[in-house]
């Protein structure tokens, strides 16, 4: 997030796009409720009528995957009505002319043709977002998990820069990150192109710094991304894989493809706390200690580095992950003789400028958000004050591209996927939380009442959902949460995991798979025992 969660409640306009906030980030939703109570305008852009959408002043029921057309339509309306922040554009940005030229093709009428949003709604949302004193954008995977996810994010950045709603409190472009430490895993350089602190692997000076610190020569080749690694296992260019705390078999799209990839590995090691579907394919399984059993830190979605602490001993012979990784490192001749998690953190600080000022001592009673370059620095509540990381903010002129795989006569429905409030991802943890399992014991797809009538379905009936990759059977809930022509499924249950159905279309830049638009066919499925 460019900004911080508590700031949301003081925004004059909250613009939520592609986020089912009440289910996926309940404590962020709570700040949105507070903002509403303080008089904020709430705009929710989502094809589904989510809980938050029902509380919105305007619910923009956009067609699946047409965000760029809608956002360009907003930009067109803002420029046409002179609602942009000229001062900000002049002082802080470049490339505005290109954006203006591109969005000329997206009048509200033209945008409406593509995204299905009434022209008046496009203008009104544009007015509210642009002319409110502070406007904040909240988004999640409804924006990024598309074959044009990067275009979606850049379009949101265009909107924020155009109106100057960035670089100040209660504004900004705020991705709500889905996992406890997905921010930290990025911060720590668990990415193929950067070292810790987003230091580029192809920069010779950076490489020299890490070579000196680690006492070994390093590779200058940018590494491969997850989808590319899976392809590499199948074509034989990758032969060995180390999976640490990730249940790829159930969480990646197109399970057939992932299983084939992982079973092609000459050697697969999985470090885990449970014997997941992924661990069952391994040659070696290493039992790690869990959250609650180890010391360390997580970075939350606001870039806040927070302590996790050991409360109980790990079971049996399970060991802290830092100990396991150091043991393997030592066998590879590396100097990895750490005495504690704090010892590891000290090494991180010494090599990562944005973490340099953070210490375990400070975290004892301070809440610190990176960048924090020195021990006397208080941390950074919001980013891009005064200037952007690259200097001037660059507008990107982006044309709308349809999703890669679109419905046709054979697969006429759109499948979209997401999280439910009581569960988490592949349920390896929440299936073992009896309170949560009781709350939400099985899969439940959502379809529209008129589609249910056409298919002859009642609430709780089972349907077969088929795509070009395969088919699954799931019970359905009938209502108007999803629009006609669509089906929503959660991804928590092995017996009805939509990842069997999803394809492998990727965003060309980020290599993020499309989890939000997948053409499928629906058929009533006979229910046993009735």
């Amino acid at each position: 997030m460019t900004n911080s969660i508590p700031e949301i409640e003081d925004a004059d306009c909250v613009f939520v796009i592609g986020s089912n906030t009440t289910e996926a980030h309940p404590l962020v939703a709570y700040r949105v409720f507070r903002a509403l109570r303080k008089g904020a305008k709430l705009i929710v852009v989502d094809p589904r009528k989510t809980q938050l959408a029902q509380l919105a002043h305007i619910h923009v029921r956009i067609r699946f995957g047409t965000d760029v057309a809608f956002l360009n339509g907003m930009i067109h309306a803002i420029v046409k009505n002179n609602w942009q922040n000229r001062e900000f554009i002049e002082a802080r940005t470049e490339g505005f002319e290109d954006l203006e030229k591109m969005t000329q093709k997206y009048s509200p009428e033209e945008a409406s043709e593509i995204c299905g949003v009434p022209t008046d709604a496009i203008r009104e949302v544009a007015r509210l977002y642009a002319t409110s004193k502070t406007s904040t954008i909240l988004y999640t995977l409804g924006i990024t998990e598309h074959s044009h996810g990067v275009d979606n994010v850049k379009s949101l950045a265009n909107l924020a820069m155009l109106t100057g709603h960035i670089g100040k409190p209660s504004s900004g472009v705020n991705p709500l990150r889905g996992q406890n430490n997905v921010q930290g895993a990025c911060d720590m350089g668990a990415l193929p192109n950067v070292y810790p602190g987003y230091q580029i692997v192809t920069n010779p000076d950076i490489m020299a710094k890490f070579e000196k610190a680690w006492g070994i020569s390093l590779s200058q080749d940018v590494g491969r991304t997850i989808p590319d690694m899976m392809d590499g296992l199948i074509d034989g260019s990758i032969k060995g894989m180390y999976i640490f705390g990730e249940n790829s078999v159930e969480s990646d799209p197109n399970i057939h493809h992932v299983r084939r990839a992982l079973t092609s590995a000459e050697f697969l090691v999985v470090q885990e706390i449970f014997l997941t579907q992924t661990a069952q394919l391994a040659h070696v399984v290493l039992p790690g200690a869990s959250w609650g059993e180890v010391e360390g830190t997580f970075s939350n979605t606001e870039r806040k580095v927070q302590r996790v602490r050991k409360a109980v001993e790990p079971p049996g012979q399970a060991r802290p992950n830092w100990v396991i990784l150091s043991e393997i490192g030592r066998r590879m001749g590396l100097k990895m003789d750490y005495s504690s998690a704090e010892d590891v953190f000290e090494e991180i600080r010494s090599l990562t400028p944005s973490f340099a000022g953070i210490t375990y001592d400070r975290l004892h009673d301070e809440e610190i958000q990176w960048p924090c370059p020195s021990v006397d620095h208080p941390g950074t509540q919001f980013l891009h004050k005064g200037q952007f990381t690259r200097g001037r903010g660059l507008f990107h002129a982006i044309a709308y591209r349809p999703s890669e795989e679109l419905p046709d006569a054979e697969f006429p429905f759109i499948l979209t996927t997401g999280r439910r409030y009581a569960h988490y991802h592949t349920r390896t943890m929440t299936v073992r939380c009896p309170s949560l399992e009781r709350e939400f014991p099985g899969p439940m797809a959502q379809i529209h009442v008129r589609d249910a009538e056409k298919l002859g379905l009642n609430d709780g009936d089972s349907i077969k959902v088929a795509s070009r990759r395969g088919e699954i059977v799931t019970p359905v809930k009938i209502g108007d949460t999803v629009p006609e022509g669509a089906i929503f499924m959660d991804f928590h249950f092995q017996e009805a995991n939509p990842n069997w159905l999803l394809g492998t279309s990727l965003d060309p830049v980020s290599k993020t798979p499309d989890y939000k638009v997948c053409p499928v066919r629906l058929e009533k499925h006979p229910t046993d025992g009735l």
Binding site: P26, G178, N181, S219, G232, G240, W291, N321, M336, A341
Partner: protein, 135 residues
């Protein structure tokens, strides 16, 4: 009776709610929200309130496993770690570091993620490290 509270960060979504783990006689028995935390201000969602429940599941892995004759069998730490280091090294020696790939974890700590990417880059000479942020 040994009864204590240990301050920590919720293990589920990216909000980073602060909580106390409630520990009695070496077992986790509950969670309580931290009232003066800026982010959650004394609140937790249903997942936060139930977060302690999975940790002591009887399904936890408690011993290293090594595949022998097609089956995963219990093994010592020495055997498991030696197998990992030697098999990965022999693949690297035969086909180069870029024939190996490492997936890190958005579930685990900064310290653990740092070490995993260090092991990949410094131990095996490849930048083939990624994690599920991309998914």
């Amino acid at each position: 009776m040994d009864y204590r509270f240990v301050k920590t960060t919720c293990p589920f979504c990216g909000c980073g709610c602060q909580m106390f783990l409630e520990v009695m006689d070496g077992k986790l028995i509950g969670t309580l929200p931290v009232k003066n935390a800026k982010m959650n201000q004394g609140k937790l969602c249903i997942k936060g309130w139930s977060a302690h429940e999975f940790v002591q599941s009887p399904d936890r892995l408690t011993q290293p496993l090594v595949r022998k004759n097609g089956r995963l069998e219990e093994a010592s730490w020495e055997e498991a770690l030696d197998t990992v280091a030697s098999r990965l090294s022999s693949i690297r020696d035969a086909h180069g570091g870029n024939s190996l790939a490492f997936l890190s974890s958005a579930r685990c700590t900064n310290e653990e993620n740092y070490l995993l990417q260090k092991l990949c880059r410094a131990g095996f000479g490849t930048n083939n490290v990624d994690h599920c942020a991309r998914l």
